[in-house]
Subunit: 191 residues, 2 copies
Amino acid sequence: MKTRNIHSDLALAILGLLSLRPASGYDLRKVFLTTAMKAFSASPGAIYPALRRLERDGLIEGAVERKHTLRPRMIFKLSGKGKAALVASLTKPVTREDVIRRLDGLLLRFSFMSGLLGEAETLVFLAVLAAETQGYLKVLEEEYRRSAPGMPFSGRAALEQGVETYRVTARWAGKTLKELKKDLSSKGASK
Amino acid sequence: MKTRNIHSDLALAILGLLSLRPASGYDLRKVFLTTAMKAFSASPGAIYPALRRLERDGLIEGAVERKHTLRPRMIFKLSGKGKAALVASLTKPVTREDVIRRLDGLLLRFSFMSGLLGEAETLVFLAVLAAETQGYLKVLEEEYRRSAPGMPFSGRAALEQGVETYRVTARWAGKTLKELKKDLSSKGASK
DNA sequence: TGCAGCATGTAACCTGTTACATGATTAG
DNA sequence: CTAATCATGTAACAGGTTACATGCTGCA
C-alpha cells in the first residue's frame, strides 16, 4: 500500500492533532489561535482547503454532526491510511538540510511522537537531530570566528542570534535525549 | 512616489545583498549556499524568477557584463527605487505576529540595517523586538506552566524547546539593545 | 577527452495569503 | 435587538519546490 506523503507543515499539524482526537476545522483553528501552535496559519483559507485535500487523499474522514439541526459541523477523524502516512512522515530520516531550513517542521514531528512511535524510534530521531544540530552549530561558530571581525554591527549581531539559537537547540536535544534514555533503561531494569 | 512593497524573505535578502554590492544571480546563489544565509532557498527556480520580478518592478537594474565574450553574465544593482523599498521594508513596524510567525524575517531585516538606517531607527526596531519577544516568552511560559503536567513526553519537550528559544532571543535582543545604546551615548559624549 | 564548475533558465505542481462572503446562534 | 462568536467556505494572486534543460570554460 502506497502511503501518500504529506507536503506541508500545516497538513502534518492537522494530522497530528487529529491523531489525538477528532475535530472540526473550527476546532483546529482554535488550537492554532490559542496554543503554542500559533506559529501555524489559522486562516480559513489555509485550513479548509487543506482538510479537503487530506480527505480527498483518504487520510482523514469527515462526518456531519448535528445533521438535523441548522448548524451542522464536519467532524474529521484520522483514517488508517492517514495514521500510516503520519507515522511514515514522523520516521523519515533527519538531514542537515532539515535542521538548517526546516527546524520547525522537525520540532513539529517530534511533538507528536509520544503517542505514535515507540521510544526506540523517538530516540533515534533525537540522536540524529542532536548530532546534526551540534554539527551545524560548529559550522556557524566557525563562520562567526572568520567573518565577525569584518562585519557591520547589525550583521554580526544577527549572526550571533543564529549561533545562540542553535546552541540552545543542540543543548536541548542532548538533554532530552538523555532523559529519554534514562526512561528506557529504568523500564528495561524493572522488566 | 509609491514604493512597491517586498513580499518574500527571499526578495528582501536579495535586495539586502545587492545593497552591499552588485551581483549576478549566480553570485547570490553562492552566498545562499556558503554562508549563514543557507536558511534561504538557493534553487535557481526561486532566485531567477525573483530577480526578474524585482527588475520588472524597477527595484533592481541588470546590466550584461562581458557582452562580447561567449559567456555573458547579468550583473544586478539596486536602483534608487529599490533602495527606497528596502528602507521602507526595514522600517515597517514590528508586531507580535511577526515575532511569532516570522522571526526569521525580522532577523533578516535587522541584519541589513547597519548600512541603511540610522542608529536611532535601529534602536527603535530592537527595542520593540525585545519587548515583543519578552512578552511572547511570558505567554509561552504561562502556557507551559498550565499545560506541561498533562502533556505527553515529546509534546512537553517540544514546548520546552520553544520556550528556551524565545528565552535566548529575548536575552539577545536586550543585550544587543544595550550595546547599541552604549555606542550611541559614547558618540554623543565625544561630539 | 571528460568532468567539475560557471551561468542561466523553464514548467508543472502545490500551498499559503488576503480579502471577501454567508448565515446561525447565544449572551447581554 | 445586536454584537460576538460559531462555522464554513471561495477566488485571485504570489511564491517556492522539484525536476529538467542548455551550453560554455578551465583543468587534468
